[in-house]
C-alpha cells in the first residue's frame, strides 16, 4: 500500500507537470462555453410548419383558408414553400399529394431532424388528416405525442453525453499513450523494471491517476452545463469504469510502440472506431449491430440515461463495462509483463 501511494503520487505529480493538463483545462473551458453559449438552446420550440397542397382536390388548401390552421401555414407553390424554409431554417416544409384517403406527405427540412421529431411531425400530420376525415384519433397516439413533447431535451444539452464520452476516450486512451512514450523515451521505465514495484502496481497506479483526472474533468463539465440535478454518484461510477477501461486499452496498445508517430495509425484507428458510437448517437438511423459492442457505445448510452433519465436500466451497460474492465486488465497485465517489463525476445 505504501508503495502504491508513493507510485500514485509520483505519477500524479508527473501528470500535473505535463503540458497536456493545460490542454485539458483549455478544452474544458471551451466545451462548457460551447454548450452553454454557442449552441442554440432549443430550436424545436418555435418550429413552424409550412404546407403546400399539391393534390387534385386541394382539400387542405380549402380547409385552411376557411379556418386558420394552428401552427400550420399554407403556401401556394413549391417556390413559396422553399422561400419560407429558407427564411426560417428550423422550420419544416410539408408537401401534400394524393387524396384524403390516400395521403402522401413529403417532408422538407434544412437542418437534421431527430427521429423523435420525425415522429412528432408524422403524428401531427396524421391527426390533421384524421380530423379532416372526421375520425377520432386513437388514445394511444395522442398519449405518445404528448409524452414526446414533454420530454424534449434542449439540443445543446443533448451533446453533453457525447462530449463526456469523448473526454473519457481521450483521457484514457490518448493520454496514457503519451505518458508511456515519455517513460520509454527518458528510459525511466527501465529503472522501474529493476525495482520491486512490479506489473500490478504499475498498471493500477496509472489507471488511478487517469480516474482522478477523468472524474475531476467529467464532474466539472457536467456541473457547469447541467447543474446539480443529476445523479452524481452513478455518473461518477460510469466515468470511473469508462476511464479505467480506456486507460487499460490505451496501455495495451501503447506497449507495442515507442513513440507517437509509430503509434499513430493504429492508435488513431482504435480511437476512430470508438468514436463511431457518437455518430450513431447523432444519427439514429446509423446503428449497425457491431456498434453496440464498442464499449464507448455502452458508456454513451448509459451516460445519456443518467443525465436525462427515461426509465431505462443502465445495469446492462454497467455489466458490460465491468466485464470489459476485467478482460482488459487481464490482457494489460500480460502485455505489460511480457513486453514492457522485459526487453528482448
Amino acid at each position: 500500500m505504501k508503495a502504491f501511494i508513493n507510485l500514485f503520487k509520483k505519477d500524479m505529480v508527473i501528470a500535473l507537470r505535463n503540458a497536456l493538463i493545460w490542454v485539458l483545462i483549455g478544452t474544458l473551458v471551451l466545451l462548457v462555453g460551447f454548450v452553454r453559449f454557442l449552441m442554440p438552446e432549443d430550436f424545436q420550440q418555435n418550429q413552424s410548419q409550412y404546407i403546400y397542397d399539391k393534390s387534385q382536390e386541394q382539400v387542405l388548401q380549402k380547409v385552411f383558408t376557411q379556418s386558420e390552421g394552428g401552427n400550420f401555414t399554407i403556401v401556394n407553390s413549391q417556390k413559396a414553400l422553399e422561400a419560407s424554409l429558407e427564411k426560417n431554417p428550423y422550420s419544416i416544409g410539408v408537401v401534400f399529394e394524393g387524396s384524403i384517403d390516400q395521403p402522401q406527405f413529403s417532408i422538407l427540412h434544412q437542418k437534421n431532424i431527430s427521429e423523435k421529431n420525425q415522429r412528432i411531425i408524422n403524428a401531427s400530420l396524421e391527426k390533421l388528416i384524421a380530423g379532416l376525415r372526421g375520425i377520432e384519433r386513437t388514445q394511444q397516439y395522442q398519449v405518445e405525442f404528448l409524452r414526446q413533447q414533454a420530454k424534449v431535451i434542449p439540443k445543446n444539452l443533448t451533446s453533453v453525453p457525447v462530449l463526456l464520452t469523448f473526454e473519457v476516450l481521450i483521457i484514457g486512451f490518448l493520454f496514457i499513450a503519451v505518458f508511456m512514450f515519455q517513460e520509454k523515451n527518458e528510459g525511466s521505465i527501465r529503472a522501474y523494471q529493476i525495482s520491486p514495484g512490479g506489473v500490478f502496481l504499475y498498471i493500477i497506479s496509472k489507471v488511478m491517476v487517469f480516474i482522478v483526472i477523468g472524474l475531476l474533468y467529467g464532474l466539472s463539465f457536467v456541473l457547469l452545463t447541467l447543474g446539480t440535478s443529476v445523479n452524481l454518484l452513478t455518473l461518477s461510477l460510469l466515468i470511473v469504469l469508462g476511464v479505467a477501461l480506456y486507460t487499460l486499452i490505451g496501455i495495451i496498445v501503447a506497449v507495442f510502440f515507442n513513440n507517437i508517430s509509430d503509434w499513430f495509425f493504429v492508435g488513431m484507428g482504435v480511437l476512430t472506431l470508438n468514436i463511431l458510437p457518437a455518430i450513431s448517437y447523432g444519427l439514429p438511423t446509423f446503428a449497425p449491430k457491431f456498434i453496440t459492442i464498442i464499449p464507448s457505445y455502452s458508456i454513451m448510452s448509459a451516460l445519456r440515461e443518467v443525465l436525462f433519465p427515461t426509465g431505462k436500466s443502465i445495469v446492462p451497460a454497467l455489466n458490460m463495462l465491468i466485464i470489459g474492465n476485467i478482460l482488459a486488465f487481464g490482457i494489460c497485465y500480460l502485455v505489460v509483463k511480457r513486453r514492457l517489463m522485459k526487453e528482448g525476445q
Binding site: L7, N18, G187, A191, I194, S195, P196, L201, K342
Partner: protein, 283 residues
C-alpha cells in the same frame, strides 16, 4: 555467490551473438570488473544478469537461484546504475530518489544524504531534465544505492566524469565493498579497474578472453614489458613482453636495425595486456 554459466544472447535472432558462451563466477564482497571495448557485450551481460533483458540461453544464478525465477522482491537486494541515464525528467533530483525509494520494502537511505555524497545537493530541487550529462549519471548512481543493496551493478559509473568527481564515486564504491557489497563493475577504464577490482574479465566480441585478478594477469602476461620508441617513417612505439620468444626476437631485431630513441622497462598495465590479447584498443 553469483554464477553465470554458458550465457548467450542474440538480439536479432539471426544467429549473430552479442554474447557468446560466457561463464564466470563472482564471490561475495568482491568487485568484479568487466572490461572490454565498445560493443563487446558488457551491457548486454549486465542487463541479462539484472533480469532486464530476457534470458535466452545459459544460466544466471544468485546463490544457486536462477534469475528467471526471481520474484520482484529480488530487486530489494540489488542496485543498478545504467550506462545511459534514465530518470524521470519531470521530477527533481530529490523527487527522483524519493519516489524510487518508495518502491522498496527494505529500509532506504536518505535522498538528501545521497545527493550530498555525489555532489548534487545544490541541484536537489532542479528537474532532472535540466541536469548535465555528468549530473544525470551521478543521480543514476545515487539511485542505485538508495536501497542499500547487497549487490551493485555499475555500468560505466565514472565515464565522462571529471577526475575529482570520478574519485568521489570510486571512494563510494570502495566503501560499499567494505560494507560487504558485491559489485559488478563494467568499464572501459583500465585504471579504474586496476584500482578497484579484485577480479577482472576481459571481454571481446562477446567472449571472455581472460579472467583473473589484475595481479595474476600481470604475472601471467609478463611483469616486465619493454616499451621502445624508434624512428622509422616517423616516431613508432612498440611494447614487447620479453618472456615470449617471438617478442624477444622482434625486440632484438629492432634494437639492432632501427634508430632507437627511448627504451623503458615497465610493469604491464591491464590495457597493454588487453591489447596483447585481442589486438584491440579499449576505448
Amino acid at each position: 555467490m553469483i554464477q553465470v554459466k554458458n550465457l548467450y544472447h542474440d538480439y536479432s535472432g539471426k544467429g549473430k551473438h552479442a554474447v557468446n558462451d560466457i561463464s564466470f563466477e563472482i564471490n561475495k564482497g568482491e568487485i568484479f570488473g568487466f572490461l572490454g571495448p565498445s560493443g563487446a557485450g558488457k551491457s548486454t551481460v549486465q542487463n541479462i544478469m539484472t533480469g532486464l533483458l530476457k534470458l535466452q540461453k545459459g544460466e544466471v544464478l544468485y546463490q544457486g537461484k536462477a534469475i528467471n525465477q526471481m520474484k520482484n522482491s529480488f530487486y530489494n537486494e540489488i542496485g543498478v546504475s545504467f550506462e545511459h541515464p534514465n530518470l524521470y525528467a519531470k521530477l527533481t533530483g530529490y523527487e527522483n530518489l524519493k519516489y524510487y525509494a518508495g518502491l522498496f520494502s527494505v529500509p532506504t537511505l536518505d535522498p538528501m544524504e545521497l545527493l550530498e555524497r555525489v555532489g548534487l545537493l545544490e541541484s536537489a530541487n532542479k528537474r532532472a531534465s535540466a541536469y548535465s550529462k555528468g549530473m544525470k549519471q551521478r543521480l543514476v548512481f545515487a539511485r542505485a544505492l538508495i536501497n542499500n543493496p547487497n549487490i551493485l551493478f555499475l555500468d560505466e559509473p565514472t565515464s565522462g566524469l571529471d577526475p575529482s568527481t570520478a574519485n568521489k564515486i570510486k571512494e563510494i564504491i570502495k566503501e560499499k565493498q567494505q560494507d560487504g557489497c558485491t559489485i559488478f563493475l563494467t568499464t572501459h577504464n583500465m585504471f579504474a579497474a586496476e584500482e578497484l577490482c579484485n577480479h577482472v574479465a576481459f571481454l571481446n566480441d562477446g567472449k571472455i578472453v581472460a579472467s583473473d585478478s589484475p595481479r595474476n594477469l600481470k604475472l601471467q602476461y609478463g611483469e616486465n614489458s619493454v616499451k621502445v620508441e624508434y624512428q622509422k617513417d616517423g616516431l613508432k612505439k612498440k611494447i614487447f613482453f620479453l618472456d615470449k620468444e617471438e617478442d624477444k626476437k622482434e625486440f632484438n631485431e629492432i634494437v639492432n636495425k632501427e634508430k632507437i630513441q627511448t627504451i623503458h622497462t615497465q610493469e604491464a598495465t591491464l590495457e597493454q595486456i588487453f591489447i596483447k590479447l585481442t589486438g584491440r584498443e579499449l576505448a
